[in-house]
């Protein structure tokens, strides 16, 4: 009996902790919104974060985007060949990339690269009292550290997603047309026929949302780190896991709303 009640107790506490954490993240988000409208915005810091989140992620995003497009083309080809509809491979790749894989893969890659780094950097700053030092020097750490990261995330994720979409379609083209001998004209015509502007733009809205999630979670976890070097490691891991899961879960709801 005791063991059961202890288990229920633990479960209840886990649920409460999670709800509390969500609330804290939301409060952080609200304070970010408040600090965002309070000038001066430190453009130099924002650009630095944009470089870190965006420019330095180009390579990995190009790589994942291209290969995802290529493998989709290959897989799609085997399926469509059964119906003699090989030329639909292009539109499948294009729709898949613009609607789902572009935003989601980009977000996951950036989470792994930049979201984790945000958590680690802020976590280190927290445990070495650098965040306290900011406060002591009458500089609000949310404004100085978190706002630039959130802005960078929200702006750079769509930009990276555009690159990912494009590279994915290009990758699909290079597998489809020269290697699998799909008619180039039909390949491209099907893309332009089946893909709508809305597919691209909704994908980009998703990406911006994912950018918000990953930077917010990364900053939250880093900002609230406790317990020295071990704590930093834990915060980093938790940030990546929570951000990735949130991205995939919110992707379902965003898709349900938008398409």
């Amino acid at each position: 009996m005791n063991r059961i009640s202890a288990a229920v107790d633990r479960f209840g506490r886990a649920v409460l902790d999670n709800i509390e954490e969500m609330g804290r993240i939301f409060i952080l988000f609200i304070s970010v919104l408040m600090w965002m409208v309070r000038p001066p915005l430190k453009l130099r810091l924002i650009f630095k974060q944009m470089e870190f989140v965006g420019v330095k992620s180009i390579f990995v995003v190009v790589l994942t985007g291209t290969f995802t497009g290529m493998v989709m083309a290959l897989q799609g080809y085997y399926g469509f060949r059964m119906f003699n509809a090989e030329s639909l491979v292009g539109s499948t790749v294009a729709l898949g990339m613009t609607r789902e894989l572009g935003p989601v893969l980009t977000a996951l890659m950036v989470t792994a690269r930049a979201g984790s780094a945000m958590a680690a950097e802020l976590g280190t700053m927290r445990v070495t009292e650098q965040i306290d030092a900011l406060s002591v020097m009458a500089t609000n750490p949310v404004k100085h550290l978190i706002v630039p990261r959130i802005i960078a995330g929200v702006i750079m994720l769509p930009a990276l997603t555009i690159v990912s979409d494009f590279m994915g379609i290009l990758g699909g083209y290079f597998v489809g047309v020269p290697i699998l001998n799909i008619n180039a004209g039909a390949f491209i015509k099907n893309i332009t026929k089946m893909v709508d502007l809305g597919d691209i733009y909704n994908g980009l809205i998703k990406a911006a949302f994912f950018g918000l999630i990953l930077s917010l979670v990364g900053c939250y976890k880093g900002f609230n780190t406790t317990g020295g070097a071990e704590g930093v490691g834990k915060a980093t891991t938790e940030a990546v896991v929570l951000a990735s899961v949130s991205i995939l879960v919110s992707d379902y709801f965003l898709t349900a709303i938008m398409f």
Binding site: F47, K48, E51, G54, L160, V163, D196, A256
Partner: protein, 476 residues
């Protein structure tokens, strides 16, 4: 690379991304190019199953427009097409809904009309439509045919299947063989007789020809009025009688029209007409009632809004999150949170016995304030009352330019030790969900809290919320 500044790198990357986006948008958007400028044409289909907005409109496989809107009209589908400007449709064109292949998307196919016919005007109608046999109907018909075939084969099986059936069939075949054998025998034995029969037949046919000639001459005689039948057909009297009957019938209907006779009275009586009219009216009224009920439920609206304000003098930001529920057009409730970094200052003077007065300033760091208001709208003016920033107050809003512009004045926080909090601002909608505002906060403050401010807000109306609430699939 290190010589390139961070700003340049970021700028270059964003520029490249925008160029790619522009290129993709252009390629994808090409197909809709020029359609925006087209003119609308309406067409009514009995059934527009599967036809969707933005579906293609084609003539001979060439896209000439798009489906702009599909709505219900008198139990039929009213489809609005937008046709590119350089394509003119003749009045007798025919529209049909077709599909790409068996499972493909639906599109509207227009069969060109006669050259030289007048053209359909802008906003005009295509009159001729053809309902295409859709796949469902086809399949169901195929189903019935298959059912019939099955019945036939079943009864065949019943009569012929089994050992008995086989026996029967064998007996039939045996009989047939016997008959043909007999026939062969008869033919062989009666060869001469048969020849004679044929000769007779030939003779009979020439006799027939003669008979027909006679008949012909009789008919001609009737035609010219000879003989009794001829006279009957040609007689004028018969026609006169018929005419008279028709005339009297006409008289009766005229009488009815004038209100003579009982039927006439019934039809022409004013009361009857009034009765009829009033019953029609009452039907109309009940329809109105239904209408009102329907529009009432449509009036129920919910808004969710966020407003950020930047106060110039203090450099503070104020944030408002409001949920507005509007059960009726002229009534609404507002619930919300206000994040106010300022808090409220309370000054207390304490004078210990024999000591100097000490002044303590305490900031109530009550950063989250509440809004709970009830409001009523009279045409362009709305009055609100309730809780403003966690204190009691009233407010008035004036709406102009189709509600794009809102002028607001609020009074709240009637504390005894300070002036009431007065706030006035104007808010203007410049994009669908985005508003900009400017105004003056707390402008008779005696605590130096007065400040001009600018702000922006985002408002989601119920359409978007409905979308959010309605289309998110809920796990059971």
């Amino acid at each position: 690379m290190s010589s390139i500044s961070t700003e340049a790198k970021v700028g270059l990357f964003v520029l490249v991304a925008l160029i790619i986006l522009g290129y993709m948008s252009f390629r994808v958007g090409e197909k809709g190019f020029g359609l925006k400028k087209g003119y609308p044409v309406h067409v009514v289909f009995d059934n527009a199953t599967g036809l969707e907005k933005d579906a293609s409109v084609q003539i001979a496989g060439v896209e000439v427009g798009r489906v702009e809107d599909i709505s219900l009209k008198d139990g039929k589908a009213l489809v609005t097409l937008r046709i590119v400007p350089n394509v003119r449709l003749e009045k007798d064109v025919q529209a049909k809904i077709k599909a790409y292949g068996i499972l493909g998307d639906k599109y509207v196919d227009i069969v060109p009309g006669t050259l030289g016919e007048a053209y359909i005007a802008v906003g005009g109608d295509i009159v001729r439509t053809e309902q295409q046999a859709d796949i469902d109907k086809l399949l169901s018909e195929l189903g019935t045919i298959a059912g019939d075939v099955m019945e036939v084969t079943a009864s065949l099986k019943n009569s012929m299947g089994g050992a008995k059936g086989e026996e029967n069939i064998r007996a039939i075949i045996d009989n047939t063989r016997a008959i043909t054998e007999d026939l062969a025998r008869i033919v062989r034995q009666n060869d001469a007789k048969l020849n004679l029969m044929v000769d007779n037949l030939s003779e009979a046919s020439s006799e027939m020809r003669r008979t027909f000639a006679t008949l012909n001459s009789i008919v001609e005689k009737i035609d010219s009025g000879e003989g009794t039948i001829g006279q009957l057909v040609e007689n004028r009297d018969a026609f006169d009688n018929l005419n008279q009957t028709l005339v009297s019938l006409k008289g009766i209907t005229e009488k009815i029209n004038r209100g003579e006779g009982s039927i006439g009275k019934l039809v022409n009586d004013e009361d009857t007409v009034d009765n009829l009219n009033s019953s029609l009216k009452s039907i109309g009224k009940s329809m109105d009632g239904i209408d009102r009920y329907v529009s009432k439920s449509e009036q129920f609206k919910t808004f969710l809004s966020y407003r950020g304000e930047y106060l110039f003098d203090s450099g503070d930001g104020k944030g408002y999150i409001d949920l507005t529920i509007r059960p009726k057009e002229d009534k609404f409730y507002v619930l919300g949170l206000v994040t106010n970094p300022n808090g409220r200052l309370t000054v207390t003077d304490t004078t210990p016995a024999g000591g100097a007065t000490a002044r303590t300033e305490t900031w109530e760091r009550d950063e989250l304030l509440f809004t709970a208001q009830i409001g009523k709208r009279f045409k362009d003016i709305a009055l609100r009352g309730g809780v403003f920033e966690s204190t009691g107050g009233v407010g008035v809003d004036y709406f102009a330019l189709d509600d794009r512009l809102q002028l607001t004045f609020e009074v709240f926080d009637f504390g005894s030790d300070r002036n009431a909090h007065l706030k006035t601002y104007a808010e203007y909608r410049f994009l669908k969900h985005i508003y900009l505002s400017a105004g003056w906060d707390d402008f008779i403050s005696n605590e130096g809290g007065d400040s001009p401010f600018v702000g922006f807000s985002i408002k989601f109306e119920d359409e978007d919320l409905k979308y959010l609430l309605g289309s998110v699939p809920m796990p059971n």
